[in-house]
């Protein structure tokens, strides 16, 4: 094994890791805003991927338009999910266990909805980035790797800008930190939480569009990605922006290396083992957000 092979594997892992980071980021955003761990985030990603499939392959809409429509439609879906489902429960202070079960049910619902509509046969969307790898030294890079990394970076920069520099973003961060105080300051919690769902779902859908370029789609894909996204968010640190990104990349790179050098059959076992180790020995993740309970 030469360093070149390792770098080659890492490059392959970066693209998929960047995609994992997107639902991970969504989980973190929603956790901050609503104190709710959304188990369905990766399934929203899959749903986005299938919407993309429907638009590009079935409806033959040009790729870039389909991308935009998918993101908007999924964003609206996230908004509705919050308005009609999750926010009323949060508002009524329903036991978090119950809301958690709700997100699990949502995840199963989306998976089976996809199954009923599109069946188990894997669906492929064209790879718009081309199939000709180019060479950098000894390393071969697929064009989609560069595109995915670029798109995810731009998305994250925009999001960072939105959260830090705009009034709405500041409002969202305020709700995340002090719900009651910000409500008293005239910030509409329901809108801010719905907006967080909108953003998170749109981000997940973008991940879905990107993944549809690389992998064939199956309804159960969400479970696989959910594992990676949850690993990413918990290894990186739940609630942390950089944590989701670093966690996603770490999971993507390490699983690619493990699958190639050790055994692809045990790739998910490996990720779970790392995740459980982290949960037990470093429950806050790498970028720990300080959480302490007032007794």
């Amino acid at each position: 094994m030469t360093p070149a092979i390792l770098i080659q594997l890492a490059v392959n892992g970066i693209a998929i890791g960047a995609i994992y980071a997107l639902p991970a980021l969504g989980i973190s955003l929603i956790w901050n805003a609503a104190g709710l761990f959304n188990f369905a985030q990766a399934d929203l990603l899959t749903l986005g991927a299938y919407v993309m499939y429907a638009l590009v392959v079935s409806a033959k809409i040009p790729y870039i338009w389909a991308f935009i429509i998918t993101t908007i439609v999924m964003g609206l879906l996230g908004y509705l999910l919050s308005r009609i489902y999750f926010y009323p429960m949060i508002e009524n202070r329903v036991n978090p266990h119950i809301v958690l079960i709700g997100t699990v049910a949502l995840s199963v619902f989306i998976q089976n909805l996809l199954l009923v509509i599109w069946g188990t046969t894997p669906k492929s969307v064209v790879n718009p980035f081309g199939y000709m790898p180019f060479r950098v030294g000894d390393i071969f890079v697929m064009p989609h790797v560069v595109w995915i990394v670029a798109i995810v970076s731009v998305l994250l920069l925009l999001l960072q800008f939105f959260l830090r520099r705009t009034l709405i973003g500041t409002g969202m961060r305020a709700v995340a930190q002090q719900q009651i105080a910000s409500w008293l300051m005239g910030i509409r919690n329901d809108r801010m939480i719905a907006l967080t769902f909108l953003l998170s779902t749109a981000i997940a859908a973008t991940g879905g569009v990107l993944i549809s370029a690389v992998f064939p789609l199956t309804p159960r894909m969400g479970s696989m990605i959910a594992v990676k996204a949850m690993a990413a968010v918990l290894i990186g640190g739940l609630g942390s922006f950089s944590g989701a990104l670093v966690g996603g990349l770490a999971v993507g790179i390490s699983e690619t290396i493990f699958a190639t050098l050790v055994n692809p059959a045990y790739r998910d076992v490996f990720i779970f083992a790392v995740l459980i180790t982290f949960l037990i020995f470093k429950p806050g993740g790498i970028f720990k957000a300080e959480i302490s309970e007032k007794v």
Binding site: F37, F39, Y85, P88, M89, N92, V94, N95, P96, H97, I98, L100, I101, G102, V104, A105, L106, V108, F109, Q111, N112, L113, L115, V116, R220, S223, V227, M230, L234, A265, Y266, D268, V269, F272, A273, L275, I276, L279, I280, P283, E293, V295
Partner: protein, 328 residues
């Protein structure tokens, strides 16, 4: 009327047990198989009642424990030549020990973190079964092991008697101080500790009991099916167990039995459901949670029920202090 209700409250489990015992006499062969699966599920879900309903530890890996019990039974018999009963006992013990491993993460983790850990645990077991082909038969599964009872009806009677005993035990546990300790762990761990509840020990007990019941259910599943494959133990299956425990009211053994059997039976009655079973289940679960836990929606829903003359059901559900509202 009130007297009848009291009788049912007191002897409900016995009545249910007798109904289940006579059911095979009046049901067709295929319906009988579905009923068997319902009772077998109920045993498993009773464990989830203790774990999720009483103790509030959301476990999504119970399919993994079910698989452990079923495979342990089959493999002990096939590979090590155990007799069926010895194999069954050891399979339950092994599952309990495996389940206990989950109690240790639960000391430090709760809520979503614990749920993720249990998903991982369940998936690891499934992937191991799938890939350790020389031992488990991989995707081909295992078959050809001998069974506890030669007569299928005897398995059923054994199961029903076991279920009723387990249900009575679970109800007793729920009302005892141990049950209270578990419920306190769910609502407020710190207050429970300060009141002298050894929370770690309570969690160990909850995990051990639920794993034991999952193991027993797995052994029975192996006996019912005669064939095991990893496909029966995906994490998606865990969600139908979740539905059974939630719809059962999260606090009552009778509720668990009824909802397990109904949920198992439903796709057979409504044929069109069979391919989209989990779709409907998850939708029902989503709607139920939303209606039951948001007071405004709940009121509106009960209002509609009344309008259509389903008064009694609505009135029963009205009392938020009733058995079902407790602790949720």
């Amino acid at each position: 009327m009130a007297k009848l209700q009291q009788v049912f409250k007191r002897y409900g489990l016995l009545i249910l047990g007798i109904l289940l015992l006579v059911a095979p006499l009046v049901s067709a062969q295929y319906q009988f198989y579905v009923l068997e699966r319902g009772v077998q599920n109920a045993i498993h879900v009773m464990g989830l009642l203790i774990l999720i309903g009483y103790s509030g530890m959301l476990s999504l890996g119970s399919a993994g424990l079910l698989a452990t019990g079923a495979y342990a039974y089959a493999l002990l018999l096939l590979k090590l030549g155990f007799s069926p009963w010895l194999g069954a006992i050891f399979a339950v013990v092994i599952t309990t020990l495996v389940g206990l491993c989950l109690a240790f993460p639960a000391f430090r983790l709760s809520g979503p973190f614990l749920a993720v850990t249990t998903i991982g645990f369940g998936e690891i077991i499934r992937i191991l079964i799938l890939n350790l082909e020389p031992i488990t038969g991989g995707a081909y599964g295992v078959s050809g092991y001998s069974k506890l009872f030669a007569n299928e009806l005897h398995v059923y009677f054994f199961m029903v008697v076991a279920l009723i005993c387990i249900a009575i035990g679970t109800e007793r546990l729920g009302r005892s101080r141990i049950g209270l300790a578990l419920k306190a762990t769910k609502e407020d761990e710190i207050a429970a500790e300060v009141m002298g509840v050894n929370v770690k020990r309570a969690k160990v007990v909850a995990f051990a009991l639920s794993a034991m019941l999952a193991g027993l259910s797995g052994v029975i599943l192996a006996n019912l099916a005669g064939y095991l494959s990893p496909d029966s133990f995906t994490s998606a299956e865990s969600s139908s167990y979740l539905l059974m425990v939630v719809m059962g009211g999260m606090n009552s053994a009778i509720g668990v039995i009824v909802s397990s059997i109904v949920v198992t039976w439903l796709p057979e009655v409504l044929r069109f459901l069979s391919s989209s079973r989990l779709l409907v289940y998850s939708l029902v679960l989503l709607v139920y949670l939303r209606i039951n836990h948001v007071p405004a929606t709940r009121e509106r829903f009960l209002g509609i029920l009344r309008k259509f003359g389903i008064r009694r059901a609505a009135d029963a559900a009205e009392d938020p202090c009733g058995e079902r509202g407790a602790g949720m």
